[in-house]
Amino acid sequence: MSRIEKFLLLLACVTGLLSLFVYPLNTAGEGIASSPKLQVFCGLTLMIVAVGYALEETVLRYRLLAGIAICAVSLFGAWTLIAWLGIAADTSALAAESAQSGPGAGFWTASVAAWALGWLGVEQLAAVMSRNRLLQLVLRVVIPIVFGAWLLIIWELVTRGLSVPQVLLPSPSAIAERFANSTATLWVDFKQTFLKAVLIGYSMGCLSGFLVALLIDKSSFLKRGLLPVGNLVSALPIIGVAPIMVMWFGFDWHSKAAVVVIMTFFPMLVNTVAGLSAADHMQGDLMKTYAASYTQSLMKLRLPQALPFIFNALKINSTLALIGAIVAEFFGTPIVGMGFRISTEVGRMNVDMVWAEIAVAAVAGSVFYGLITLIERMCTFWHPSFR
């Protein structure tokens, strides 16, 4: 066992014992006996700790099984803790005299135990050595998901357990509820900002950057002159042109698309120009011995060699485009759009709606990025980084 695993086991052991025997579950002083499920969880925790200490060698041999079991117990614990919060809120609302009975020390030690188990489980899963391709793939997906789930769980436990004001940070469940209740608004905003401004601006900006790069590539003079300037411009806060674009193109999505075009143009230009000179001299000479025309050597040698660079620019641009469109909406919009909704709902202190909008943006951004990565894998399967 590594040092961190030993530490986590010890932590789970201590916190499990504390919440099972010492600390009360809520501030009213009720013990853990009031929640059988939590008792089960604490018992399971102690069992895992005991097995971990007693049968160390065996456990290390079956890390996959151990990891799955530990993760399952930890998620079960988290789920019961969250459910207990809901029940506690209901009962304290019913019985007015115990209104201040929030979660007590025992609740928090149980939470720490669940979290320590979660990390321990991930630690086991990450240590699994397998030659099975499918298993590797599954693990590569599952481990981050468990980690992300734990981020959400901690968020939920902290915001609801400490009753953080809704205005400050709403809990994930509140955000999810708001999300489900206002899908119509979210969809309209998504259509305005993403489907119109981002997609149109992104494709125009990337395409024009690519075409200009092809033109520049023909002249070494322009290449030497434009590349430093393009590099410089890529480092500038281009987002500042947003108010100017809003003035020129009006409040509707056209101005946002214009901002996106400008933001995406230069990364594409610089990357494509760099990519087009990525081919070896040897390879270029070989094309020459084949008497390949400019178009032929472009299509068969230099564009394929430039693809990794082009996809790099496409990926950078996918996040830039979303940011550009949303920020441009702060400078004036019709009464629809993700940036508009965010700025107005902040003003009305409807923070859960803002988070729902952010969730849409995050999912849209991740899916966009993921799609480009998928296409990249299909197009540049020959590249060393994918083999």
């Binding site: 806060p237 987002i239 003035m247």
Partner: protein
Amino acid sequence: MLTVSAICHSAGFQVTDNGGRVWPVTVVVLAIIAVWYLSAVLLNSPFQKDSYKRQKQTDVSLVTLARDTMSQERPVLPAPHQVAQEIYKTTVQKKITSKRSLIFHSWITLSTALLGFVMGTVLGIVLAVSIIHNRALDKSLMPWIIASQTIPILAIAPMIIVVLNAIGIQGMLPKALISTYLSFFPVAVGMVKGLRSPEVSHIDLMRTYNASSWQTLWKLRLPASMPYLFTSMKIAIAIAMVGAIVGELPTGAVAGLGARLLAGSYYGQTVQIWSALIMASVLAASLVGLVSLANRLVLKRMGSLP
């Protein structure tokens, strides 16, 4: 033109190699300025013609028209010299403490960006060090670090500012946090690559010395990661600047370059917008230049540069 090549040079672009870049860059920049003037005339002339018509002025020569389009109060696109005059007026002729001084606003943005950049760099390095030392963190945290950047943080900048304001945290820190969020990413990703860049044989050598993982980190991995660190820091400082500017938008146009942008867009002061924009660009370029200067100095000291 000297300034342009100086900026390009300071921004880390070799001016002299590759058969001379000064001449092509000069031509390109001159061409950009020429296009700027031309579009200023074209974009501003409809308004100018309209005002001629209202003043019952007929047969205005083309030269007069061109000259008048470049001296409007609120042009659609101000000419470069108008912007230059405005920058001169608001930097040299105003006292630094004045609210109308561009230097005052630039300093506010600059200090925010620098604070955010420092915090982001430290956070990025800490994350990278823990990622290379813990397998579970490597597998679980790395995908989320990448995913974190698909969230348009700038979009929630207003909320972070308003919410932190509500609990009494004001001033520089909330804005700097946005810069931090943006700038930790390139540093974390670059440093993970950099800390893993030493060859296997070198790491094996450290093992034969019975070096602890801390010693390996300090004496082998960190020195080896310096080029990666500086490359990432160049990106990080540029986006820290963007974060600071956008962070200033929702504070209600109080101070800072972002506030100048917002105020300019409210009152149609295009010259003010453009001068803030140019100022921000100059600042960003010189910050990137400073980082690459530090890069050269450090690498020279370490003996990896001739």
